[in-house]
Structure formats: structure tokens, C-alpha cells
Amino acid sequence: MINGIAQGLTAYFVWPGLLVSALLGWLFLWLSRKLVARMQRRFGPPFYQPFFDFVKLLGKRSLVPAGMSPLLYYGLPLAAVISITLVLAVLPLPGGVRASFTGDLILVLYLMEMPAFCDVLAGFASRSIYGQVGASREAALILGYSLPFIASVSALAIQAGSFRLEDVLAQPFSAVHVLAGLAFVLAVPARLKSNPFSIPNAEQEIVAGPHVEYNGPALALFELAHALEFVAVASLFALLFVPRLPSAGLTLLAYLGAALLLVVLTSLLAAATARLQIHRAFRFYWTWGALAAAACVVVAVIF
């Protein structure tokens, strides 16, 4: 019992939870910024940058915006961080806990939406018009990217006949994985709010979107949640679509490779595109995203 709790706590706070994922997330964020900088032929930020940004924000004095309850102001980013860390703790990554239970995949999907929901709530609660417009855009975008995202994960579940991660992972690699993987990748840029789907936090239009009123430690938590989300999306991608290798070390390397591939792809896309307006982004997901979603679900049902 004590052992179990200790194991759970380690999974939550150290690996694959908060500590390692935060470091990994900062590394990914830096890599993404650096890659984009390289594609623009400039130096870009030094590699400790996201960490220093986080610490600096933690060390700033906070101003709770007028008309917003402090509970909401601090609670929302905290909820975002807690839920996304929980996702990481539950994922059966090598070295993590194997506490698999029926429906844990649904829990993961649900918790992964939490940071975005917290963003939307923060935007609406901020009483700033920019925050509200940003929040409504983000809400619309969630509706868009959820279609291929949830469909791709569900296709695997349908194929396995269970929403239990262990069962899903036990399936042999097949055509469903390829199609579902494509649908998953399609959803990634919008999930991470990178170009061309950076519309909810479009600086040139609505200042900083839902985070406009946030500052200091609360903003730091949102930034942390974003870094963790990066890791969670990459881990889920690696877990679901990279075949497991015989040794844990090799598997971990393969996972890392897949995650880096995802980082490179999103950075490349971000560098090569302009920001799309919300209706175009929405249309994109409800045509191409829907197509990919339908394809992988149909294939999963047939096979």
C-alpha cells in the first residue's frame, strides 16, 4: 500500500510526471523556437530560455485583474497543470506505473482537453474583450481539432474492442495505425496552437488571447501547462503509433524519436505558413480532419 502510494507519487511528480516532463517540455519548446529561428536564418533563443522564462514569471509580483476572483485567477492555470500532469502519470511509458484500468483512455482524452478548457474559461473570466474573443476562437478551434484527434484514438480503441490502454497497445501494428496516426498528426498543430492555427492567441489581432489579463506566477503556470501539453501530445503519439521494441531503453529512444519528429513537423509547418482565420481553420478540420477521421474509423470497423 505504502509502496503503491510512493510509486504513484513518483509517477506524478518525477517520471513520467511533473519534473521530467517539464524539463522535456521546455526542451521541446526551445527546440521548436530554435528550429523556426534556424529556418529564418537567425540565432534564436539560447537553450535554457523556456526555463528562465518560467522562473522569471514565477518571481514577478502578481496583479489579480479587477473583477476576477483570485480563486479563479490562480485556480484555472493550476487545474490545467494538475490535469495535464495526471495524463502523463497515467500513460504507461517505460519506467512509469502500469495502473491500467478499463476506460483509462477516455480519462486521458478527457484530461487532455482540460488545459484548453481552462484557457477558454480564463479568457471568458478575464473581462477583457480580447480575452473573450480569444476564448470564443479557442472554443471553436477545440470543436475543430477534436474531430480527427478523438477519432484517431477511438479508431484504435474500436480495433482493440476496448478503451483500456493496455489492450489498445497490445494490438499489432496495422493499416489502422497509419491512418489514425495521420489523423492524429493533423490535429497536433491546432492542439499546440502553433501556426497556421495560432488564431486563439494571435498577437496582432487580439493581443494575447485568453491569457491577456494573466501575469506573473499564474501566467507561468499556463506556460508550464503548455510545455507539459507538448510532452503529453508527443507521448501519446509515440505510445499509440510507435511499435514497442523488445527492450525498455530502445522503446524509450524510439518514443523520443517520434516526439522529436512531431516537434520538427510542427515547427516546419509553423515557419511555412501564415495564420489562418478561424472560419478557414474550422473548415479545414471539418473537411480534411473529418475525412481522415472517417477513414480511420471505417478502416478500424472493417478490419
Binding site: 505558413t273 501564415a274 482565420q277
Partner: protein, 359 residues
Amino acid sequence: MPYRIPIGPYHPALEEPYKLNIQSKGEIVEDVSVEVGFVHRAIELLAQRRNYVQDLVLVERVCGICSNIHTLTFSMAAEQIASIRVPDRARYIRTIMAELERLHSHLLWAGVGSEDIGFQTMFMEIYALREKVMDVLEIISGNRVNYSMNCIGGVNRDITDPDTVLAAVREIRAGIEKTIIPIFTANRTILARTRGVGVLSREDAVAYGVVGPIARASGLAIDVRQDFSYAAYEELGFKIVTQDTCDVMARVVVRALEMLESCRLIEKALLELPGGPLRPSELVTVIPAGEAVARVEAPRGEVVYYLKSDGSDTPVRVKIRTPSDLNIPSVRAMARGQALGDMAIIQASVDPCCSCTDR
């Protein structure tokens, strides 16, 4: 859900403070009102209190982007009153400076426009190219932005090394032809943000009285360089650029082709640069009593100066009318029925210059 969204006066999409009050329904813009005057520095009043040498420095700071044009127009007005004939070499150098300034202003605009549609890579690429123009300007004048090249009767500095300038201009031209134009006309995300967006019909363009690239993008062939030629444009043979699709894309194309025309003018002027003096030997000229109006095509359109002198060393009246004065209100006609997310690029496509407008 109807919104009232203010953009500005201090907002990241705006280079300068001015305020757009947007009335929108959901993400569709219903109406826009524009508020200016945040950078009013009473330059016209100050100009009436200072002598002509000081005024040239002062009007240069009406606008940091088209600074040279303001001193040029002021000098032209003063020269008209004093009937000074500008030496040939000075006229050519003035043309070169004016066109270099147009290059840097249009590149700046293209960069800001790309940033407004969230295309950072293009912003970086354009700004990297723009640095080459800034280098040329700095080599010629000794300063990157406010060149202080013009004086009444001629220019202050010579172009001592035309070959360096020529090489740089050719490099800039290659950059515009090979990188900027192809990407702006072919990238699908850019087309999605610019084609059919912010249409200003020919009738509206006439009604609002817009000038410069915006008028030319709405099919109006007006350009001071062609209609009332000054400096050395007549000898160099200026060709006007117009488009008639009237949208943001048309404004992009007009400015891009204008940049190529500028490169051609600069190259020709450098090759045909006549010899001779740069300015009359007297540095501080006396302006006799009289009045004059001078007009010049700035990067954003027509600049008009009215100057009245009573024969003393300070002008009695300096009136400045800048192109953005006429162009900014046309945002209203462009914005109705557009998506809220497009407001940034629509207002940027006008290339609003508030320090010009407010003075």
C-alpha cells in the same frame, strides 16, 4: 453576439497609436470608426517659430518612415519662392534618395503586413532584405533613418561611391524578384488572407479621395511623379503601376511592382548621374516674401506643402497635408462585412502613418 472591440490606441498590430472602434457581430465586422490624434505634436506651429534651417530638421521628423520626402517638399516650396534652380546632380541625388526611401518604406510595409497575418518567416526575410536598403541609406547619408540630405537649393551630401549603391540595389532587386513576389503570389495561406479581402471599389476610392498605392490598387492611375513631374523623373522616364482587383492582394502587387520600378529608377539615375555642384555656395539662404505650394509623391501617396514667407528667417505659415490623412478613413469602406481576424491586415494594407496624419 454583437461586440464592440477597440483596436488600439496601443496595440501590437499597430505600428503607431490610433484607434479603430470595431462594431462586430460574432466574427463579422459591421462598422468601424477611426480615431486619430494621439501623436499630435503641433509641428506646423513649431515650424512657424523656427528658422528655415531648423525647420528642415523639424519637418524631417513629421514622419520617420518618409522623412526625406518631407524635407524634399519643404525645400521645393522654399526654392519656388526664392526662384532657386537646383543643380542637376542634386536633382538626381534627390530622386535616388526618394526612391530608396520608397523601397525601404514598402519593404517595411510588406514586413508589417506579413507579421499581421502571422507569417513570421516572411517578416524575417523581408526585414533581412530591408537591412540592405538601410545599409545603402546609411552609407550615403551617415544615418539609417533621418538622412538630412536635402537643403534649400540642393542636397547636403554627395553620393561618392555609386558602384556600391548600384551593386546593393541590384541585390535588392533580385531579392524582391526571386523571393518576395513569388511567395506573396503563390503561398496558399497568404492568398487565403489577402485575395478578396478589404475591397475598396473604384467608386469608393474616388469618394474617399485616397491617394498613392491604395488609389492605384483600385484602378486609379494617379501619381505625382507622372502628373506633375519633379526632381529627375521626367528624364528617367517613370512608369505608373496600377491594378484593378481592389483588394489587399492588389495593394501588395502594386507595392511590389513599384519597388521594382524604384530599383530601375535608382539604377538609371546612378548610371546617368550628372556632374556639377550639389547646392548653392551660400548655406543659409534668404527666402524672400511670397508663397508656394509643392507636391511630391511619398511612398504612401501625395504630400502637399504650403509655405508662406514674409522675407524674414522664419516662415509665416507652413501647412502640411500628408497622404495618410486621406487614406486612413477609407479603412471604413474596406472593413464592412469582413472577418474580424482580417482587420489587422486590412488596416495595415492602407499603410496608415499616424505621425504623418497627426503631425
